[in-house]
């Protein structure tokens, strides 16, 4: 009886009393810590250390140096690729944001009870094979593709255009397509949190729809958009499937050389160095975004 009375205040996951509290807490968290160390911290640490090791004809010598980085950043090819990858990622994520945010706004404000369905329909493609979605663009944009066939049958062009596939633009279109659901999701959740009476109050005070958006909705949802943009950017920046599939030579991105370094070129340290560069770029963009999107107001 006394035992059960003493037990009732303890949390469910409680271990026997004998173990001191701080240790108990640590034991509770420890599986997660082991997990984090094994699957997240160690891999990244090894990635960094590999990038600082020397490669000699495919074998890795454990000699610490920064040769991989100096070689990369003095190589014209790498700089060109880095610039192009940045450009592609920024342009496609910006396009995705310009499409997804207004869409989310209309869905939240105008669709009423169907807004959840409309939002789900946009998110569902995220769950369908990435490879399939990218590959389909090859069918659509290819020389004998659907778009060319369509244009020809309308009579807009005489000969199938080869300009559609294997270019930077193709990669941008495909990555925009890939990024839209992510940006939409972030925009939608933040827009959905703005209470309905904020719109009403603003309009009661005489503000037009545009002014309501500019002074009430946008400041409240800007951080959400930034989150969406950040995710979109990071995912498109580190992608290699799309450039390999639809990019051709002029659509090559950093991811493609990482693939090469770990595959045919067999130069792991170089690949690791590029990987670290990609991670760092992603972190820098996150930091910049967080600088520019300080929260001005918060929804209660």
């Amino acid at each position: 009886m006394a035992a059960s009375a003493a037990r009732y205040l303890e949390p469910v996951a409680a271990l026997p009393r004998r173990i001191p509290r701080p240790l108990k807490r640590f034991l509770l968290v420890s599986p997660a810590l082991v997990w984090i160390v094994c699957l997240i911290l160690l891999p990244n640490a090894f990635l960094i250390s590999y990038s600082l090791w020397k490669n000699e004809l495919g074998t890795i010598l454990h000699v610490w140096n920064v040769h991989n980085y100096t070689e990369l950043f003095s190589s014209q090819v790498f700089i060109t690729l880095l610039k192009r990858t940045l450009l592609i990622a920024v342009v496609s994520t910006t396009c995705a944001t310009l499409i997804a945010y207004p869409l989310a706004y209309v869905v939240v404000t105008r669709f009423g009870r169907y807004k959840t369905l409309a939002a789900l329909l946009i998110i569902v493609p995220l769950w369908v094979s990435y490879l399939m979605r990218v590959f389909a663009w090859k069918i659509i944009l290819g020389e004998n593709g659907v778009l060319n066939g369509l244009l020809k049958s309308i009579g807009l062009i005489e000969k199938p255009s080869t300009a559609l596939l294997y270019s930077t633009t193709t990669v941008i279109v495909t990555l925009t397509y890939v990024a839209i659901p992510y940006v939409f999701l972030a925009s939608y959740t933040s827009l959905d949190r703005v209470p309905k009476h904020y719109y009403e109050a603003s309009s009661d005070c005489g503000a037009s729809a545009w002014r309501t958006f500019r002074h009430v909705v946008w400041p409240l949802t800007r951080p959400g958009v930034a989150v969406g943009f950040a995710i979109g950017f990071v995912l498109t920046f580190g992608d290699y499937v799309t450039p390999q599939m639809v990019g051709g030579l002029s659509g090559t991105m950093l991811g493609s050389i990482v693939l090469q370094s770990f595959g045919t070129a067999d130069n792991w340290p170089q690949g690791a160095a590029i990987g670290v560069t990609i991670i760092c770029t992603g972190l820098i963009v996150l930091a910049l975004l967080s600088l520019f999107t300080r929260l001005e107001a918060e929804i209660e």
Binding site: L41, I123, W127, I180
Partner: protein, 322 residues
């Protein structure tokens, strides 16, 4: 009052009815265009999977199922499919156990480390697949584990676990803690309470999370590519096919995968929706409809719920905080 209201009224009247209709039409067409943009690739692949011509172009030649039968006659493809299923099942099982445990742990944690742990656990979900792939590859290489079944499963587990964790966490937020306390009061031990009270409470979310994780595992290529040894999973095998020349079989394979994924997502969504509705009768959930809850959970899985947090920990001021 009337003087203040006048400019507002005047502005409203200036937009005539026809202009409003025009705007509505333009917006409607734009929205339709986005939906078409999102779904066209999948629909086109499905259409071409039953097109008898070997060249992927319009006009449509004739209807056929021969690519599907060719698919099932292709021995390496079949091996790849079964291997993928095995990987997915193993990965989902491990992830379900780990994800449930982490969700319960995070739900009960009150200390400051919670946000950091959550963000770190979620990071594989928002990291680009390539980064996750190569970092795990060098990790296993250093540990002298060759690429193969174990590494692929580990790669998949690393991003399915946070997914399941978030779906379960979402559900835990709406459970009533007094149920567990009541169970303990009645003399049930921690294990019994877990089995009879906690687990039934999150069961549906757990199943839904598993279904979502399963589709993710079946489709995953970016991570798997680096970790697969000699035996490729289905997407890796198809990727190889695409690089060395194309057969319309691929369309058939994609259509089947996509169909399977959609069925699993549909099942997961339905489960969450229905259980959300049942739950609402028991637990009062202020202001959130069932459909919204299901969507939020699915969405959380997709990115936002997750994404908001890791990015926040990266000091981006909380977009997804509430």
């Amino acid at each position: 009052m009337s003087t203040e209201a006048r400019p507002y009224m005047r502005r409203r009247r200036r937009e005539s009815r026809s202009v409003r209709y025009l705007i509505a039409c333009v917006v409607g067409i734009a929205i339709l265009a986005v939906y078409i943009f999102l779904y066209a690739p999948m629909i086109i692949t499905a259409i071409f999977s039953v097109n008898s011509s070997k060249i992927q172009t319009l006009p449509f030649a004739s209807f056929t199922f021969k690519w599907y039968s060719a698919l099932f006659a292709d021995a390496p493809m079949k091996t790849a499919i079964f291997y993928s299923l095995k990987v997915a099942a193993t990965a989902v099982f491990i992830s379900a156990c780990a994800g449930l445990g982490f969700a319960l742990m995070l739900h009960r944690m009150r200390s400051r480390g919670k946000g950091v742990i959550q963000a770190l656990l979620a990071s594989p979900l928002v990291a680009p697949g390539m980064v996750l792939g190569i970092s795990l590859l060098v990790n296993f290489h250093s540990a002298k584990i060759g690429p193969g079944f174990a590494t692929v499963v580990a790669g998949h587990v690393s991003f399915i676990t946070p997914l399941i964790m978030f779906v379960v966490l979402q559900r835990l937020k709406t459970t009533d803690p007094s149920l567990e306390q009541a169970s303990m009061d009645c003399g049930a031990g921690p294990l019994r309470t877990f089995w009879h009270v906690t687990l039934p409470g999150v069961r549906v979310a757990l199943i839904a999370g598993c279904l979502l994780g399963f589709t993710l595992s079946m489709d995953e290529i970016a991570v798997t590519f680096f970790l697969a040894g000699t035996q490729p999973t289905l997407p890796v095998y198809v990727w190889g096919l695409l690089r060395f020349g194309f057969t319309p079989e691929v369309n058939a394979a994609f259509t089947l995968i996509a169909g399977g994924s959609l069925a699993l997502i549909g099942a997961a969504g339905l489960l969450l929706f229905l259980s959300g509705r049942k739950r609402r009768k028991v637990v009062q959930l202020a202001g959130r409809s069932d459909a919204e809850l299901a969507a939020a959970t699915l969405g959380a899985a997709g990115a936002a719920g997750l994404a908001g947090r890791p990015v926040r920990a990266g000091s981006l001021t909380g977009g997804a905080s509430s």
